[in-house]
Subunit: 222 residues, 2 copies
């Protein structure tokens, strides 16, 4: 007998809750919070408009739910990597920064699961100063940021607290900028730069970030 708790584990063809999140992610990324409308999200997700309020109450909580889903995935991967890295010895700065940047970049390139939409979304609120952006950043990304900054200082004792924070924020911002896939790199380079080559982007981001962090550590006014 099939009761309510006998949910099949395979992906259902109609999973309203997930379909709403997916459509909302796209809409918020493409149109911004103010430009996206619940009506359009419902239409895109193939559900009734009232269903969105039933599951997520209002637009603000829907936005938080979108961020919560992806950030949980990214940050648990980063947490696991940090746990593993310091098990035996102190890793190199390159190994550490790759562990921090790769999960974000890879999810942004996971087009099959719509990751590029979340890439655009995270870029938009990471650098925004409005109250809603600050709220989700603080709730979903500050904890892993503090852990990452502490790890950077363990790997590079010469790094001051202030420079570690700056170096972390610089590194995140440049990794995010390539994730957004605006097509500008390809346009400016007449196609030489490929926004979709994950490994090349990881390598370039890590190389740039590590050199920059070392430069901060060796400033004269240190």
């Amino acid at each position: 007998m099939l009761t309510q708790s006998d949910k099949p584990t395979r992906k259902q063809s109609k999973d309203s809750r997930a379909d709403i999140l997916q459509a909302a992610e796209r809409a918020f990324a493409d149109l911004g919070f103010g430009g996206a409308s619940i009506r359009a999200i419902a239409r895109e997700a193939g559900v009734n408009q009232a269903m969105i309020h039933y599951y997520y109450q209002n637009k603000d909580q829907l936005f938080s739910a979108v961020v919560a889903r992806r950030s949980g995935e990214i940050n648990s991967r980063r947490d696991d990597a940090l746990d593993a890295l310091f098990n035996d010895a102190i890793p190199s700065l390159e190994v550490l920064m790759e562990a921090l940047l790769r999960p974000t970049i890879e999810i942004g390139h996971d087009d099959a699961r719509g990751g590029s939409a979340y890439a655009r979304l995270i870029v938009s609120f990471n650098n925004a100063a409005d109250e809603r952006s600050q709220r989700v950043t603080e709730e979903y990304y500050d904890p892993i940021a503090r852990r990452s900054i502490a790890a950077m200082k363990r790997v590079m004792p010469a790094l001051s607290e202030a420079d570690a924070v700056r170096g972390y924020l610089f590194s995140i911002s440049l990794a995010l900028s390539v994730m957004a896939k605006t097509g500008r790199a390809a346009r400016l380079s007449q196609g030489l730069c490929d926004d979709s080559d994950t490994e090349e982007i990881v390598a370039n981001s890590v190389a740039f970030a590590c050199a920059g962090i070392r430069a901060l550590a060796s400033k004269k006014d240190n």
Copy 2:
């Protein structure tokens, strides 16, 4: 006799056109294009709502006008610097990058003229993939970007075209990230990082960017 062309050069207490741009800049920066409303902008600027349509026709053209005003100022300063730098000899990478990044950072810190609002705005559309953001980026910022990238290659012949483009975009993105003044650096560093110290931010951005660019140039798979 005072005709229409005898405009006083001093700032008038009531300059509707400029007041509208200023209020629009703030609204677009704080609320996004979709979240900002013509009505609220008119109220903030102290003008009638119809005046905005009289001067700027519609919301899209108002947005372009906001970007056009500031980008003209930033890019003419960068153009002048580029013209002067290569007059005598080839400058160092540090001198070049400071000339490119400083105008942007300084305008973002010019609170007296409301520059921090434009800082938040430029960050939002620089990394956005929607059609409107792409349009203003391409029109107002791609020309100076191409000139800057060419200058970087002159200063560092070892830099490939692709790496010059990547290095430029990385550098711009990290400079913009500190301009946005989200307060996150201060929060994560418990006040050690000061978002408003222009000279320190310029120095850190230039040091980080130059080291990163050099790292791109010396990659093994070059």
